[in-house]
């Protein structure tokens, strides 16, 4: 069974969860929506990064590689691509600022990871429907932004940075 459609399916599921209970949504439902929205973006970026690194491997190898990615390292990478200013390795690689689309991907990933953490672990956190819908919208916006830039050099550098950030410090 292919899991290629998983990121999109998770996003659709997250959307469904925010509207499933029309009157008074359960906290459990809204929390699952937020968590699912985060994972839709997480799995999208992992699978896209593997596609960039190893486009010719078979499906099983692809899924093994997708397990290499670490949530915290990915969040740190996202932070490096955001203003106010990019660090030296990135300035050399992509210029003084990332595109608006890449910034959106990076920003929303950080926000969604934080929200996912609250949704799954902070029992004192109260979610309203509108708050959960906002996070799901952010996952969708990030996905659309990524699909616009996925073939660009900066997207390649971003994806490689999830695993290989320290190598950018090396110069030729």
């Amino acid at each position: 069974v292919s899991a290629k459609s998983l990121p999109k399916d998770l996003l659709e599921q997250a959307k469904f969860l925010t509207t499933k209970e029309t009157k008074k949504p359960k906290q459990a439902t809204l929390r699952r929506a937020v968590s699912t929205a985060y994972y839709s973006l997480f799995h999208l970026l992992c699978s896209e990064a593997v596609e960039i690194m190893a486009p010719n491997v078979d499906e099983n190898t692809r899924y093994r590689m997708q397990r290499w990615f670490d949530h915290i390292a990915m969040k740190e990478t996202c932070g490096r691509f955001l203003p106010p200013s990019l660090g030296a390795p990135l300035r050399d690689l992509i210029g003084s600022v990332a595109s608006n689309d890449l910034q959106r991907v990076a920003r929303n990933f950080i926000r969604l990871q934080d929200a996912r953490h609250l949704a799954d672990y902070d029992m004192g956190w109260t979610l309203t429907r509108i708050k959960s819908q906002e996070f799901v919208q952010e996952a969708e916006d990030a996905r659309e932004a990524w699909l616009r830039i996925r073939k660009t050099a900066e997207a390649n550098i971003f994806a490689l940075s999830f695993l290989h950030w320290k190598h950018w410090e090396k110069r030729t």
Binding site: D114, A115, T128, I130, E134, F135, Q137
Partner: protein, 93 residues
């Protein structure tokens, strides 16, 4: 840790000043800044944009409201806030 708290308190003050100059959408009644922690346990600036009961009732345009969240994020960064601001919508009482 003390310097982190001092820094984040200064960031909160700056965020309050910047947000006071931002024109809110009709769907947003007010904003609130607070200091919390992020998922790593580090001090973090949090901003809540309170959505009016009317907009909530009418299931306001979530795309438009989310775009406003991005606009506020950008305004804070351009205004000099250096830490990552965690901004979210919530329902006003």
């Amino acid at each position: 840790m003390t310097s982190d708290i001092t820094t984040i308190e200064a960031e909160k003050e700056l965020a309050d000043q910047i947000l006071a100059t931002v024109t809110l959408l009709p769907e947003i009644s007010n904003f609130e800044t607070s200091i919390g922690t992020d998922s790593s346990g580090d001090a973090a600036l949090r901003v809540t944009l309170w959505v009016t009961p009317e907009a909530v009732q009418q299931r306001g345009d979530i795309k438009k409201l989310t775009q406003f969240v991005y606009d506020v994020h950008t305004a804070l960064q351009l205004g000099g806030v250096k830490s990552f601001p965690y901004i979210s919508l919530d329902e006003a009482a």
